[in-house]
């Protein structure tokens, strides 16, 4: 057998606008418009079938493509739930110049911004909305016996007039209980030394916590010697994350066995009038420290007077 190339060949990255891709088996035609994104296993193009826009993923790795098709197929079998994009067609394409066959599949085109862009455009108050939506979807996915795996802002598209988050790249989606197929280091609990790579709901929930981190630290950061301690610092030093500290830690430590639990806790945390509570706490502290405060006040006034007097003297001498 030949050496496989891990990265998509250049020819697939540069399919020109206007190229028509015809399937070898089903004979459907797709006109390439522009590339939408490039992953480790292939390139996704925006294409047109007749008048309808579709997303077409093409790759020189039939193997991984077929396992993605498998996942998409299962998704579309679940009626009434829009998790991933709908699968429309699977076929082979004979490259006219290379005389080589590439596998491709066609799915529904989901128009929108990726999560990071969306939050940057619309504001931080959307973070929690999206996270709650996401947890709802994950719960359904987990109940059907799947774990998403490669959960990250790049794989989440927010679309529609009423913004709704959609999961797009299903390359990492794994049957519960197996080994996670694909992951991204920053969002992977194995990388942080905080758990296994077994496909279980808690694996996705770790990633959800890391997505919240990523929203607050858009540049991400690299792991240092003690990953856990590093995360602790990053959470406690950011006001937004600090608010959800307890929940984040439960998710990071794998204490949530189901997405609904985490969702419930987040909702509860939001409903708590945290600001008022803080104010009240602040007041009691002030009462306790009143005596000390008075002393400080007197000293402060004294120093001020002294300073003004010095300035006065200085002006007089001049």
């Amino acid at each position: 057998m030949t050496v496989m190339t891990m990265y998509t060949s250049n020819n697939l990255c540069n399919i020109r606008t206007g190229t028509v891709i015809q399937g070898k088996w089903h004979k459907r035609h797709y006109e390439i418009i522009k590339p939408l994104g490039k992953g480790a296993n292939g390139v996704v193009y925006l294409a047109k079938e007749g008048r309808a826009f579709v997303a077409l993923k093409i790759s020189n790795e039939a193997t991984t493509m077929m396992s993605e098709v498998n996942v998409l197929k299962r998704f579309s079998e679940v009626q009434g739930i829009t998790l991933g994009p709908c699968l429309l067609d699977v076929d082979d394409w004979l490259h006219p110049h290379e005389k080589k066959i590439y596998s491709f599949y066609v799915m529904e085109y989901i128009e929108g911004d990726d999560l990071l862009t969306f939050i940057q455009k619309r504001g931080k108050e959307w973070i929690i909305v999206i996270i709650l939506q996401l947890l709802g979807d994950l719960h359904k996915l987990h109940e059907k016996g799947w774990v998403f795996g490669d959960l990250k802002p790049d794989n989440l598209i927010v679309s529609g007039a009423v913004p709704k988050v959609r999961l797009i790249d299903v390359g990492g989606t794994t049957i519960r209980g197996r080994a996670i197929k694909e992951f991204t280091e920053f969002f992977d609990r194995g990388y942080w030394g905080m758990g296994t790579r077994k496909a279980e709901p808690s694996y996705d929930l770790f990633a959800v916590a890391m997505i919240m981190m990523n929203m607050c630290y858009p540049k991400r950061f690299e792991r240092k010697e003690n990953g856990r301690e590093q995360l602790r610092l990053m959470i406690s030093s950011h006001p937004y994350l600090k608010k959800y500290e307890k929940i984040l830690w439960r998710a990071l430590d794998g204490k949530y066995t189901c997405a609904h639990e985490m969702r419930k806790d987040l909702l509860q945390c939001m409903q708590q009038p945290t600001e008022q509570k803080e104010k009240r706490e602040g007041r009691t502290v002030r009462v306790k420290g009143k005596k000390k405060f008075r002393l400080l006040e007197t000293m402060f006034l004294f120093v001020c007077l002294l300073f003004m007097y010095v300035v006065y003297l200085y002006v007089q001498i001049l």
């Binding site: 057998m1 030949t2 050496v3 496989m4 891990m6 088996w25 480790a40 039939a62 193997t63 077929m66 396992s67 098709v69 498998n70 197929k73 699977v90 076929d91 082979d92 066959i101 596998s103 209980g177 197996r178 080994a179 996670i180 280091e185 194995g190 990388y191 296994t196 790579r197 077994k198 496909a199």
Partner: protein, 247 residues
Amino acid sequence: MRKGTLRQILLITDGCSNQGEDPIAMAALAKEQGITVNVIGVLDQDIIDEQGLREIEGIAQSGGGISQVVYAKQLSQTVQMVTRKAMTQTLQGVINRELKQILGSHASIEHLSPEKRVEVMEVVEELGETVNLQVLILVDTSGSMKTKLQTVKEALLDLSISLNARLGNNEFSVFVFPGKKGEVDRILDWTPKMESISSVFPKLTSGGITPTGPAIREAVQQFQKRRSLKGLFTHDGDDDVYIEQSM
């Protein structure tokens, strides 16, 4: 289907061999015995020389495996990806062989319609999850690798996290070359847990020569030794079915 075992050699190096047998020939020998050889070339900032690159590709090609050249930083992701992909490739080879037996010599996965192929891939995936795996890791510790050893160690720990999440059993063994006295030294005997290499790795000294060929030869022998030992203790040989990939 019976539960089988896949055997792989994973070679981590940064350049050309300069002593002993031709590593490409040794890799071919490994393949003849049903052992896949994968190679990962680790770069610093500099670019690997043409000759080294050719050797890396050559070893993987004749060893029926996969090769990939990466910067040290990407090593963790690459090591697990290469291992998984090589597993799938071998299993696909097995399925292809079965298909040929059933449907004639022209049949192969590529010739099936997408619908059928999806079903076949489901079987391959299932096998990849449950099959047992033995990986012998060969680490080049000659001169220039010295600065990359820490990264290699981390990548190997990461590999065991990935593979141990599977349902099938894993066994790892780690060898370094050149060895203190001979060409190859074993630093970790067959074990499902890789954690113990943490203590061994910092103590490694690096030598000047790069006997890649002899290292692969020795690795193959290790697999054979293990096989015969197993045969001694468990009397029924049927217990361990080795999955081999045919051309």
